[in-house]
């Protein structure tokens, strides 16, 4: 009889105890929920700053992307002017940056032809003698990112009035593509490594 009464009291006490714990947990949960609702509200209000930050970052990236590989033609023209031998002058300077930009775009898309020569500029002009043309070729090779300078044509032009001969020349200069393609290749390699890593992770898991 005593055991039964003790058992009953124990069950009753356990019920009260568990009921209390349940109430406590329930009120704690309510508090958390209410705090989280307020926090969520604050987060939603402040998200506009985060979105703004993201749009600034995106704009920065876009600008960097456009500005990458930009050719500074003014420097090249200045260098050509500086390097001109005394006996030679230029009548036509033809800079073809669009060819380079097009090639880089195709290379990124995997459509470019490997090892293709991309013209940077061509110069046409007159010189007193062929050595001036050769001097000019040597000097043009010193321009940054120019790999190959090619004499396309040299023609003797006779001036009957003055009874003299001048040399008319056309020189083509081609880009050294390595510095332009280096970054793209590195990026492609990193992407491949990332894919391999993620595949390995998948296999391991």
């Amino acid at each position: 009889m005593v055991i039964v009464v003790v058992l009953f009291v124990a069950v009753a006490l356990l019920s009260v105890f568990i009921f209390d714990i349940d109430n406590l947990l329930s009120s704690r949960l309510g508090e958390y929920e209410s705090v989280n609702i307020k926090l969520q509200d604050q987060v939603s209000k402040l998200k506009v700053y985060s979105d703004f930050n993201a749009s600034v970052e995106e704009k920065k990236e876009t600008i960097e992307d456009i500005k990458k590989d930009e050719i500074t033609w003014s420097k090249i023209i200045y260098d050509i002017g500086r390097f001109m031998p005394e006996g030679a002058y230029i009548t036509v300077f033809d800079a073809q940056g669009s060819q380079l930009y097009e090639y880089i775009k195709e290379y990124k898309e995997g459509e470019a032809q490997e090892g293709q020569k991309v013209m940077s500029f061509s110069v046409t002009g007159d010189a007193a003698e062929y050595r001036d043309v050769l001097r000019l070729v040597i000097e043009l090779k010193k321009i940054e990112n120019i790999e190959n300078v090619w004499i396309q044509n040299i023609t003797n032009i006779e001036n009957i009035d003055t009874d003299s001969v001048i040399i008319r020349y056309t020189i083509n200069a081609y880009w050294n593509m390595e510095p332009f393609l280096e970054d793209i290749e590195q990026k492609a390699e990193t992407q491949e490594e990332d894919i391999l890593d993620s595949e390995l992770d998948q296999l391991e898991s």
Binding site: V11, I18, F19, I21, L29, Q40, Y49, K67
Partner: protein, 185 residues
């Protein structure tokens, strides 16, 4: 007390205890378990919300700095074509460098339907015919290359007329950009 009463009382106490266990203790235990798991979830949510909030507060504190940065970037890459400002800037540069713009053509490069929501930017082709001496031309090209708005000079043809070397004729083909409003991430 007679034994029969004792048995009845014991049976009653036992039944009440079982009822208490089944109707109060068990549901309360189940509820407590579910509350505990909800509290754990809410705690995790609270931590992540607090972290998120800290990040956003940092962004809010940097707002003026970010806004200044945005204004600077918007000069380089405007949100719309801004061709009026662009034209004015080009003529101002020509005036400053003492070169003469004899022709200026602005053409928006149309994106095809596939590209319209994939390209972040739109392009404007800027074709300029310039007349000036070597230094005036060089100065003009250099200034447009470094002007606040992005101007990517692509092709240049400089021709020296046989009679007057101080008056070079230059064809400049450049590209400038603005944000494509239809771009979707």
């Amino acid at each position: 007390m007679r034994n029969i009463y004792k048995v009845i009382i014991i049976a009653l106490v036992f039944i009440i205890s079982v009822f208490l266990l089944l109707l109060v203790v068990r549901p309360a235990l189940i509820r407590s378990g579910s509350h505990l798991s909800s509290i754990t979830d809410e705690e995790e949510r609270n931590t992540s919300l607090n972290e998120e909030l800290d990040r956003y507060l940092e962004d809010r504190d940097r707002y003026y700095l970010l806004n200044a940065e945005y204004q600077r970037l918007a000069m380089e890459l405007p949100d719309n074509d801004d061709t009026l400002i662009l034209t004015n800037e080009l003529y101002e540069i020509a005036r400053h460098t003492e070169a003469t713009i004899s022709s200026l053509t602005l053409t928006e490069v149309k994106l095809d339907e596939e590209e319209i929501d994939k390209s972040k930017t739109k392009e404007i082709m800027v074709d300029i015919i310039l007349v000036g001496s070597y230094y005036q031309t060089l100065n003009f090209i250099n200034t447009i290359e470094i002007m606040p708005r992005i101007m990517r000079v692509e092709d240049i043809i400089i021709q020296a007329p046989a009679t007057d070397f101080d008056s070079l004729l230059t064809y400049i083909s450049a590209k400038t950009y603005f944000i494509n409003e239809y771009y979707r991430d």
